[in-house]
């Protein structure tokens, strides 16, 4: 019991002192972990989960459809999920997993991938 408490306390201390941000991680790597499962290695909406998705994930290389969405909409879709922008629930909510800064970087990255918008 005592060791458990000490352990729990140590965990807390570590949690508080450990660096909470991981800005070193490239945004491309983040995309490769969280987004590729549906949006695919080619970033065009062809991930391994696609056969079981009733709505096709957005093609992030498509300048036309991506260009039609503002930065605000993309930020909102990523943070709060598809439902928040009247799209499918199959686009998940990432606000709990990614930091605000990472989501900002992600939107910039998506602009690079689609070569569109601002």
């Amino acid at each position: 019991m005592k060791t458990q408490m000490a352990a729990a306390f140590a965990g807390l201390v570590l949690l508080l002192t450990a660096p909470t941000s991981h800005a070193e991680q490239s945004i491309e790597q983040i995309y490769g972990i969280y987004c590729v499962q549906c949006h695919g290695l080619n970033r065009n909406g062809t991930g391994i989960n696609v056969p079981s998705l009733s709505v096709k994930p957005r093609d992030h290389t498509d300048a036309k459809s991506m260009g039609d969405s503002s930065d605000e909409e993309l930020t909102k879709a990523i943070t709060e999920g598809g439902l928040a922008v009247n799209k499918s629930v199959l686009m998940p909510t990432w606000g709990h997993v990614l930091s605000e800064d990472q989501i900002k970087d992600m939107v910039k990255y998506l602009r690079k991938v689609c070569k569109c918008g601002t």
Binding site: T3, A8, A18, S52, G81, S88, V89, H96
Partner: protein
């Protein structure tokens, strides 16, 4: 500095308290699985990991399942672990690359029983998997099935009933035989509390949804389908 000392002291304590259980497992297990709560919560650790964490195994699995799976370990994660290292581009969409998905070490009966005993000792803290997190109402299972397939999009990443579903998360076709209901309820309410940076999103589910989804999953693979 004082914090550091404390942390080191605590670390040693954490290590000692789980060491006895972990000792009973073959040392090879810990080369791929964390048997004590990792202090490194960085994304780098997730990238370097070779197998899922087992430090809360005693609160996650049903013991009978462990004993039989360790003797005949079939794939649980269709794209291996972690999925993003084992996929390749296909004709229409990405596919798991079978050449990268390794077979799991197989144990004989006696070793499987001993390993299951040792794993069942590795309990999650009470606040991570609270007893009674699933309130036990199985009547919600049908609504849970709808939430899983339709309203909450779980099927996008998990194979559920009839083995239909996505490939980036573990199969849940036999979730009821494999997992403890309290674990299911606790995990789906906040996966990152168990595993910082894991690629299952937190859907901000209401308790009613959590109860229904858990009821649905808890009866999968129980022979009642």
């Amino acid at each position: 500095m004082k914090g550091l000392l404390l942390a080191v002291a605590g670390l040693t304590a954490a290590f000692l308290s789980s060491a006895s259980a972990a000792d009973k497992l073959d040392p090879s297990c810990s080369s791929c699985h964390a048997l004590a709560k990792p202090t490194d919560t960085s994304l780098d650790r997730l990238l370097a990991r070779k197998g899922p964490d087992l430090w809360y195994a005693g609160s996650k699995f049903n013991k009978d399942w462990l004993v039989s799976w360790l003797q005949d370990p079939k794939h649980i994660r269709p794209a291996g672990y972690p999925y993003f290292k084992n996929i390749k581009k296909g004709d229409k969409h990405d596919e798991p690359d079978p050449s990268k998905i390794l077979a799991h070490p197989k144990l004989n009966k006696a070793d499987a029983e001993a390993a299951a005993d040792a794993l069942m000792v590795l309990k999650a803290p009470d606040d991570l998997v609270p007893a009674g997190a699933f309130k036990g109402d199985m009547k919600g299972a049908r609504m849970g099935a709808l939430a899983f397939i339709k309203f909450r999009g779980c099927v996008g990443c998990h194979q559920g009933e009839n083995g239909e579903g996505g490939l980036s998360g573990p199969e849940l076709t036999d979730a009821g035989t494999r997992l403890q209901p309290d674990f299911i309820a606790a995990y789906i309410s906040d996966p990152q509390r168990f595993d910082p940076h894991i690629w299952m999103p937190t859907a901000n589910l209401k308790d009613l949804d959590i109860q229904r989804l858990t009821a649905f999953l808890a009866q999968l693979g129980q022979g009642g389908k």
